[in-house]
C-alpha cells in the first residue's frame, strides 16, 4: 500500500529500536540506495531507482520458512530554504512484500497497493534483484509544488519489523540481524 502521510514515526517502535540500537549500530549496512531519479510529472513524481538488497542469514532463513517480509521504501520530499530548516512537503511509504511458496518452490514479490500484480521467481536472489529495480514509481503530490523553489527527495529502504508475525517481533526487535535498513539519501527533483 502506498501511504502518503506527514508523520510516520511511531514513538514506541523508536523506543524499541533505541533499545536495540547498540546491536544495529555494530552491524554493517545490508541495504543501500544506489541510484534514484525523481522527475516531476504533473501532480506526481515519477521515480526510477536501483537498490542493493542483501538479507542476513537469519532473515533469508525466515523467508525460506514462509515468513513473509515487508520492505518499505520511504520517500520524503523537502523544499530547500536558505535561512531556515528545510520544509518537509510530503512523505510516502511504498511497501513491497516478498514471500515464499514451498510447494512451487518460488518467491513471490507483490505490492499490496497494486492488486493482482505479483511476480514469481525461482530463487531468492532473482526476487531480490527484481526488487532492487523499480521504474516509473508514481508518488502523488498532496499539493502543487511552488515555482522557482528547489525541491529534493530523501529516500530510504527498510525492513518493516512491525509486519512480522507477532511472536517474531520480540526476537526481531532484540536481534541486530533483523534491523535492515539503508541510509537516508538525498536526490534532486528534476522538473
Amino acid at each position: 500500500m502506498l501511504v502518503c502521510k506527514k508523520n510516520n514515526n511511531p514513538l514506541l517502535l523508536s523506543l524499541l529500536l533505541l533499545v536495540a540500537a547498540w546491536s544495529s549500530s555494530a552491524h554493517g549496512r545490508d541495504m543501500s540506495i544506489d541510484q534514484i531519479e525523481a522527475r516531476l510529472d504533473g501532480q506526481s513524481i515519477q521515480v526510477d531507482g536501483n537498490l542493493t538488497l542483501t538479507l542476513t542469514d537469519d532473515v533469508r532463513k525466515a523467508l525460506s520458512k514462509s515468513i513473509p517480509l515487508q520492505l518499505n521504501m520511504e520517500f520524503v520530499l523537502n523544499r530547500a530554504r536558505n535561512y531556515y530548516y528545510d520544509k518537509e512537503v510530503a512523505v510516502w511509504t511504498v511497501p513491497i512484500i516478498i514471500s515464499y511458496r514451498p510447494v512451487s518452490d518460488e518467491y513471490v514479490v507483490s505490492r499490496p497497493d497494486l492488486l493482482n500484480q505479483e511476480e514469481t521467481f525461482g530463487s531468492q536472489r532473482a526476487a531480490l534483484e527484481r526488487l532492487g529495480v523499480f521504474n516509473n514509481l508514481s508518488l502523488p503530490l498532496p499539493e502543487p509544488l511552488k515555482e522557482g523553489k528547489k525541491y529534493y527527495l530523501e529516500a530510504r529502504v527498510k525492513l518493516d519489523l512491525g509486519q512480522l508475525p507477532a511472536m517474531m517481533r520480540p526476537l526481531a526487535y532484540f536481534s541486530s540481524s533483523w534491523h535492515l535498513n539503508s541510509k537516508w539519501t538525498e536526490w534532486p527533483l528534476i522538473r
Partner: protein
C-alpha cells in the same frame, strides 16, 4: 501551595496508592502481554507497546526498589532507629518471595520449553515434508511433460517460414494442447506470431528478461506464474533453431492454464505447508516470547514483592521506631512525649501503654517539681526568717555536721563565711575556727548530752574584749535512720548585760548621791559650828586636836561631796549639746592643753585630714579625751622613752562611715584582772582615783553611739580605741557626697 498541602501531596506520593496503581497497570499490561504472546489477533498488534509499557514499568519498579534499598542502607549506616529491623524484615520477606518464585520460574521454563517442542510432532513434520516434495515432484513432472509436449512442435515451427502458416500452426498447437496462448518471439523479444484463446487479445504475454536469461543456458523454460487475471499458469518457452544457418534462433512460448482444482489444491497445500513451516520456524521465537513474558512476570513479581516487603517492613517497623525514639526522648528527659496510635493491634496497645507511662511520669515530675518549688520556697522563707533573726542560729545533723546557719551567727561570732564549712563536723569547725574553739566544744558537749533542751551562757574572749552569749539548744526530730540533729540559737547579751550593769551602777550612784550628799552639808556645818564654838575655849593642845579633827571632817566632807558630785554626774541623764565639731582640731586642742604636763613624754599626733566635721558634744568629747590623755600620761610615769600616740583614722564600718581614735602609750599597761571590768565604776588602779573616769568615758561614747575598748600592746603599754559613727549635718553630708564623687 502551603505546607499542609505539600505534606499531604508528599504523603500521597510516598504512600501505597501510587505503587498499587502502578502495580495494577503492570499486572494488566503483563496479562495482555501474555495474551499477545499467545498470538491473540487483536492483541498481537499492541505487543510492542505492551512490551514497552512492561519494560518501563519494570524499570520504574527497579528504580523504586533500588531507591528504597539505598535509603534503607543509608539509614542503617546512620544508625537510624528501626532501620536495622526494617532491613532484616525486607531481607526475610524478599527471600520468602524469591525462593519459591525461582523454583516456579525454573519449572515453568522447563515445562514451557518441552510443551512447545511437543507441539511439533515428528511424524507430522515428515508428512509435511513429504507432501511438499510430492507437490514439487508433481509440478516438476507437469512442467516437464508440458515442455516435452511443446518441444514436439518445434520441428513443425522450425519448418514454417510463412507468417500466416506460422499463426495457423500456433493456433493449432494452442487448441490441440489446451494452451491459453502461444506465441513466437525473436531472442530480443520481438513478436513474430501469436495465437490466443481470447479473440480480442492483440499482444501476447511478454516473456520477461529472466525467461530469455534462462533460455541462454537451457533449451527450455517452464515456470508457474500468476496471470493477469490472478489465475495460475505455467509459462513454457523453448528454443526454436533457425531454419537458415547463421540466423538467430527464435523462442516458442506457450501459456498453459493450470486447472482450477489443481491450482486450488496447490494453493491450499502451499498455505498449509507454509503455515506449518512458519510455525516450525517460529518455535524459537515463540519460546523466546513466552520465556520473555514469563521472565518479565517473574521479575515484576519479584520487584513487587521486594517493594511490598520494603513497604510492609517500614509500616511494621514504623511504630517500633517511633516507640524507640519515644523511649530515647524519655531517656533524654522529655517526659511529655506522646506517640500517635496508628493501629489497634498489640503494637497499638504497647504505644498506648507507653503514652500512659509518659503521662504518669510527666505528672509525677510535675508533682516533684511543685514539691521542689515548695521546698525552695520554704527554704527561702526559712532563710529569710533566719536572716532577719536578731539571734544567731546554727544547726547540726545527726553526724554533728553543720547544716544551717544565718548571717546573724556570723556577725555574732565574727566569722566571715560559714558556707564553706558545711558538711564539717563540730570538732572540725573548732579546729578551723580556732578563736571559737571553746564555743564549739561547749556546743559539742551539749550535743553529746543529748538533752531535748539546753541552755547556757557562754563567755568568749576576743580582740574586742569579753563577749557573753546566751545559748539555747534544741534537739531536732529524728529522721528515718533514727539520727537526730541539734539546733542552737544564741544571742550576744554582752551589751545588754553591760547596760544592765550600767543601769545598776547608775541607780547606785543616784542613791549614793541622794543618800550621802544630803547629810554631808549638816556634817560639814556641824563641824564648822563645833570648831567655831569650842575652838577658842580649849587649851592649846585640845585646840590643836579639835582644829585638826574639824578640818579633817571638813576636808573629807568636801572629798565626799566631790565623789558624790561625780556619782551624780555619772548617774544623771545627760542633755547632749550636739553640733559640728572638727574632731582633729578638738584632739589637737586637748593635747595642746596638756602640753605642760607631758614632761619627758614624746607626744605624736597622727590625724587623718579626710575626717569630715562630725555632730558631737564637744564638751563631753573633750572630757573623754582629757581623761584618756591624763590616764596615759599617768601610766607613763617612771617610763623611759615614754611615748604617747594620738591618732585618728576614717574608715567604713558594717553599714556606715566611722572614725577610729586611738590613744596609745608604751607605759605599764592595764592589769589583767582589771581588763574585764575596766569601764565599770569603782574600777581603778590609782590610789586616789574614784574609779568613775573610764566609766564616764564609756558612758559619753555610748551616748554618741560609739564604742570603746582597751587592750594591752604586745610591746608593753596600752591602747584605748574609740570608734565613732560619722554623723554630719545636711550641708556637710552634701559636701562630703560631692567630695566622694570626685
Amino acid at each position: 501551595m502551603d505546607r499542609v498541602a505539600t505534606n499531604s501531596l508528599k504523603n500521597i506520593i510516598a504512600g501505597p496508592v501510587p505503587a498499587l496503581i502502578l502495580s495494577l497497570i503492570l499486572l494488566i499490561a503483563l496479562l495482555l502481554l501474555s495474551f499477545a504472546a499467545q498470538n491473540t489477533a487483536k492483541l498481537a498488534d499492541i505487543y510492542a507497546p505492551l512490551l514497552v509499557v512492561n519494560l518501563v514499568g519494570i524499570f520504574v519498579l527497579l528504580v523504586l526498589n533500588l531507591g528504597s534499598l539505598y535509603k534503607l542502607i543509608k539509614q542503617v549506616r546512620s544508625k537510624v532507629i528501626g532501620s536495622r529491623l526494617t532491613l532484616r524484615m525486607v531481607t526475610m520477606f524478599s527471600l520468602l518471595a524469591f525462593l519459591p518464585l525461582i523454583v516456579v520460574y525454573y519449572i515453568s521454563i522447563q515445562f514451557l520449553s518441552h510443551g512447545i517442542d511437543s507441539w511439533f510432532d515428528v511424524r507430522i513434520e515428515q508428512a509435511m515434508s513429504d507432501a511438499t516434495l510430492l507437490g514439487q515432484v508433481s509440478l516438476k513432472s507437469l512442467k516437464e511433460g508440458q515442455i516435452e509436449t511443446l518441444i514436439r512442435y518445434v520441428p513443425d515451427v522450425e519448418n514454417t517460414s510463412d507468417s500466416l502458416e506460422l499463426i495457423s500452426l500456433l493456433d493449432r498447437i494452442r487448441r490441440e494442447e489446451g494452451y491459453s496462448e502461444t506465441a513466437m518471439f525473436t531472442q530480443n523479444g520481438r513478436i513474430l506470431a501469436s495465437s490466443s484463446m481470447q479473440p480480442g487479445t492483440l499482444l501476447p504475454s511478454q516473456p520477461g528478461e529472466r525467461v530469455f536469461t534462462a533460455l541462454d543456458s537451457n533449451d527450455a523454460y517452464a515456470e508457474q506464474e500468476t496471470g493477469v487475471d490472478g489465475s495460475r499458469i505455467i509459462r513454457l518457452a523453448v528454443i526454436v533453431p533457425p531454419s537458415t544457418v547463421g540466423m538467430p534462433p527464435h523462442v516458442l512460448q506457450a501459456i498453459k492454464p493450470i486447472p482450477l482444482r489443481f491450482a486450488n489444491l496447490e494453493s491450499s497445500i502451499n498455505t498449509a505447508i507454509g503455515e506449518y513451516d512458519r510455525l516450525l520456524y517460529l518455535r524459537g521465537p515463540i519460546k523466546f516470547g513466552f520465556i520473555m513474558t514469563l521472565s518479565l512476570v517473574s521479575l515484576m513479581t519479584l520487584l513487587l514483592a521486594v517493594w511490598t516487603a520494603t513497604f510492609s517492613a517500614r509500616r511494621l517497623a514504623s511504630p517500633l521506631r517511633e516507640l524507640a525514639e519515644g523511649t530515647q526522648a524519655v531517656a533524654d528527659g522529655n517526659y511529655n512525649t506522646q506517640l500517635p496510635v496508628t493501629s489497634h493491634d498489640e503494637l497499638g496497645i504497647l504505644i498506648k501503654s507507653f503514652n500512659r507511662m509518659t503521662q504518669q511520669i510527666s505528672k509525677a515530675r510535675e508533682n516533684a517539681q511543685q514539691s521542689q518549688i515548695k521546698l525552695v520556697e520554704q527554704h527561702t522563707y526559712l532563710e529569710t526568717v533566719l536572716g532577719h533573726l536578731s539571734s544567731g542560729v546554727l544547726s547540726f545533723d545527726a553526724n554533728q555536721k553543720l547544716r544551717t546557719h544565718n548571717s546573724r551567727a556570723c556577725e555574732i561570732l565574727d566569722i566571715e563565711e560559714l558556707d564553706t564549712l558545711y558538711n564539717k563536723n563540730i570538732l572540725q569547725l573548732s579546729q578551723a575556727l580556732a578563736p571559737l574553739k571553746d564555743f564549739f566544744i561547749i556546743l559539742n558537749e551539749a550535743i553529746l548530752a543529748n538533752q531535748p533542751e539546753w541552755n547556757e551562757e557562754v563567755t568568749l574572749f576576743s580582740s574586742h574584749g569579753k563577749q557573753v552569749l546566751l545559748c539555747r539548744g534544741t534537739r531536732l526530730p529524728g529522721n528515718q535512720s533514727g539520727g537526730s540533729g541539734y539546733v542552737f540559737v544564741f544571742d550576744d547579751i554582752t551589751v545588754m548585760l553591760q547596760a544592765q550593769r550600767d543601769a545598776a551602777w547608775g541607780e547606785v550612784a543616784r542613791r549614793l548621791a541622794h543618800e550621802i550628799k544630803n547629810p554631808l552639808t549638816p556634817i560639814q556645818l556641824s563641824a564648822e559650828r563645833i570648831r567655831k564654838k569650842y575652838l577658842h575655849t580649849l587649851d592649846d593642845s585640845q585646840k590643836q586636836t579639835l582644829d585638826r579633827a574639824t578640818r579633817t571632817i571638813s576636808e573629807q566632807v568636801d572629798s565626799m561631796k566631790e565623789m558624790v558630785n561625780a556619782f551624780s554626774s555619772y548617774a544623771q541623764p545627760v542633755s547632749m549639746n550636739i553640733h559640728d565639731v572638727d574632731l582633729n582640731q578638738l584632739l589637737a586642742d586637748v593635747v595642746e592643753l596638756h602640753k605642760g604636763h607631758f614632761g619627758q613624754v614624746e607626744v605624736t599626733l597622727s590625724l587623718d585630714d579626710s575626717i569630715p566635721p562630725m555632730m558631737l558634744d564637744s564638751g563631753r568629747m573633750r572630757q573623754v579625751f582629757n581623761n584618756l590623755i591624763v590616764n596615759a600620761v599617768q601610766a607613763l610615769e617612771n617610763t623611759e622613752n615614754a611615748k604617747l600616740l594620738v591618732s585618728t583614722q576614717s574608715g567604713t564600718g558594717k553599714n556606715e562611715k566611722i572614725v577610729t581614735i586611738r590613744v596609745e602609750d608604751n607605759g605599764k599597761g592595764i592589769q589583767k584582772e582589771l581588763m574585764e571590768q575596766l569601764f565599770e565604776p569603782y574600777v581603778t588602779s590609782k590610789e586616789k582615783g574614784s574609779g568613775l573616769g573610764l566609766a564616764i568615758v564609756k558612758k559619753i561614747i555610748d551616748e554618741h553611739g560609739g564604742a570603746i575598748w582597751a587592750k594591752n600592746m604586745k610591746n608593753g603599754g596600752s591602747c584605748f580605741t574609740i570608734q565613732l559613727p560619722v554623723k554630719m549635718n545636711r550641708l556637710a553630708q552634701q559636701q562630703q557626697s560631692t567630695t566622694d564623687k570626685r
